[in-house]
């Protein structure tokens, strides 16, 4: 299992645990917590997307003999951008700071597009 896959899955598990805490705080009266969109995106972006991208990077067909998993720098960039964007979202929705939400939108968009571009070359027949 390549390093970026290990880190994606670890990050995903950590964010899944965070999502469960946020979800519990939403149903315990008086415990405050993050708004519902934060909870939803912790699960879909933080957990599911990290898991999917990490496993796809590991398991999809080889890009070439020289670079079996393609340019791994793209995978690292996608992982970093996506998770930095998600953290910005959590901050921006906790303390309404408009600039943080714009930064989050940009970082997550670049992260997803980077992962999609990286995986695109690996989606092919034998």
């Amino acid at each position: 299992m390549p390093a970026v896959t290990r880190w994606s899955i670890r990050t995903g598990l950590l964010l899944l645990a965070a999502a469960m805490v946020v979800g519990m705080m939403q149903v315990i009266p008086g415990s405050g917590g993050l708004p519902y969109p934060s909870y939803l995106h912790l699960i879909t972006v933080g957990w599911l997307s990290n898991l999917i991208f990490g496993v796809a990077h590991w398991m999809f067909p080889r890009a070439s003999a020289a670079q079996p998993r393609g340019d791994e720098r793209l995978a690292w960039a996608g992982w970093g951008l996506l998770n930095a964007g998600l953290l910005c979202r959590l901050v921006g929705e906790s303390f309404p700071i408009p600039e943080t939400l714009v930064a989050s939108a940009l970082l997550q968009l670049l992260g997803v597009w980077t992962w999609a571009a990286h995986l695109w070359s690996r989606v092919k027949g034998k």
């Binding site: 599911l48 408009p98 600039e99 939400l101 714009v102 995986l119 092919k124 027949g125």
Partner: protein
């Protein structure tokens, strides 16, 4: 990866790129001065759930589930092509506001996927059956490694 999975996974990545752009605009709608973009949330959710995640699962499952011991190891091609086409047309229709027709097509696609996939959900590979001969082969393989 079979060609149908290639098309299905590429279509899912395309929906992902579109859905992410839509999501970014929704998230930044207030600072950008367009609060009305919040109306796109249901379309964003539909694209990300059905266009991206469900379709990715369909494509990868078609590729990776055990093949049947027949000439058409992954089943007949036409029904699986129909599943992918119906799913994508369904997502387009739901996103453009044709909810009833779109959801109907998505439902037919999901049923079609389940019907053609169920026969492939079976014990396969080293140690998968748990029977004596299979376990002996598994043990030999582990020892080789």
């Amino acid at each position: 990866m079979p060609s149908l999975s290639v098309w299905s996974v590429r279509a899912s990545l395309t929906w992902l790129a579109v859905g992410a752009l839509m999501g970014a605009l929704i998230l930044a709608r207030v600072p950008l001065g367009h609060p009305e973009w919040g109306a796109w949330i249901p379309a964003h959710a539909e694209i990300m759930l059905m266009g991206w995640m469900v379709q990715l699962a369909f494509g990868v499952a078609h590729w990776i589930l055990p093949r049947q011991p027949t000439a058409e190891g992954r089943g007949l091609l036409a029904p699986v092509v129909a599943v992918v086409v119906l799913l994508n047309v369904g997502v387009v229709l739901v996103v453009t506001g044709h909810l009833m027709v779109g959801r109907t097509l998505e439902t037919v696609a999901a049923l079609g996927f389940a019907l053609q996939g169920i026969p492939r959900i079976r014990a396969s590979g080293w140690g998968a059956t748990g029977k004596e001969g299979d376990l002996v082969r598994l043990k030999k393989r582990v020892e080789m490694v």
